[in-house]
């Protein structure tokens, strides 16, 4: 973040430095409370991807790719997909695909409730967020190599 030539102006960089953590935190909140309040894995994952995209737009692609490289994004995405599938397969413990295998569902309106639904939300968030960030990163990199 020291390089003044890359990215946008100082105003944008200062505002980004203040807001990008809050955006990431809001995404995590939306994901973890997906079974209690509106939101869920998809929206939260996209918000988390947007925080990294925000970083990339303001500071240039090197800074954002140092935080989360394209290979790491691919690995995270595959991990999310595998986790979702694993949760689905673990349902065979109770009898069928996607069986909600926590017998004690917890109290409603609490964070740790609803069995597999928060776990599925986390898996979908990893998959969607990392996947969309990888698409954006690859488009930016491709454009950069195209113009030179």
């Amino acid at each position: 973040m020291r390089n003044p030539e890359k990215g946008m102006t100082l105003i944008v960089k200062t505002i980004t430095r203040l807001t990008v953590g809050l955006i990431l935190l809001y995404g995590i909140y939306i994901v973890l409370h997906g079974h209690v309040s509106p939101g869920g894995g998809f929206a939260g994952g996209v918000i988390m991807a947007l925080s990294f995209i925000h970083l990339m737009l303001a500071f240039g692609k090197e800074v954002a790719l140092k935080k989360l490289s394209q290979a790491a994004a691919s690995i995270l995405e595959s991990l999310g997909a595998l986790m979702f599938l694993a949760i689905a397969l673990l349902g065979f413990l109770g009898g069928y695909f996607f069986f909600n295998f926590f017998l004690n569902k917890g109290k409603p309106f609490e964070l740790f409730s609803a069995g597999i639904i928060p776990l599925c939300n986390v898996a979908i968030c990893l998959k969607v967020g990392a996947g969309l960030f990888a698409i954006f990163a690859v488009l930016v990199l491709f454009k950069g190599s195209d113009e030179k």
Binding site: I30, G34, H35, V36, S37, P38, G39, G40, F42, A43, V46, I47, A49, L50, I53, L57, S74, E77, A81, F84, L85, A88, F97, F98, N100, K105, G106, P108, F109, S113, A114, G115, I116, I117, C120, N121, I124, K127, V128, G131, L132, A134, I135, F136, V138, L139, V140, L141, F142, K143, S145, E147
Partner: protein, 179 residues
Amino acid sequence: MSSLMELQLLLLFMVFAAVVAVEIEDLLSSVIAVGAVGLGLSLAFLILKAPDLAITQLVVEILCLIILIRATIHRDLTLVKDGRWFFNTASTLLFIASLLIFAYFALRELPRFGEPMMRVAKEYVGRGLEKTGATNMVASVILDFRAYDTLGEATILFTAVMGVLAVIRKVGRIKNEKS
């Protein structure tokens, strides 16, 4: 009934913005008009009391807008101006007319707006909380009752990302002879 009128005003705004997006010359203005359509759709979801969809629509719209702006802002795409305008207009009118005719017969069979058929949904809404423990009914439907559909949707997104990463990659690509 005031919320219904808000919804209709919003739909009018969205139709207007969509027409602007198609007809305007400047690509960047066209992308902004597409964003206005998405914002209107998000507000429409909010009026219809679907905050999950509103959040998702807003966020995905922002992401698509960023990608579209970065894709279009430096490109000069040539627009096809002249062509077989008589054939184009006639075929467009023909397809619009056939769509309207079939929609007239098909849409009569749908349940009226605001009076849905609650055959399966009655079970989900009535017993969703005690069966899944999730207070967000949408989450309990998409991740418990209908999780198989969500798996399919996740697979589609996974395949799309893999396809993009495979097509626009740097590793293993044959180098251009000039560079």
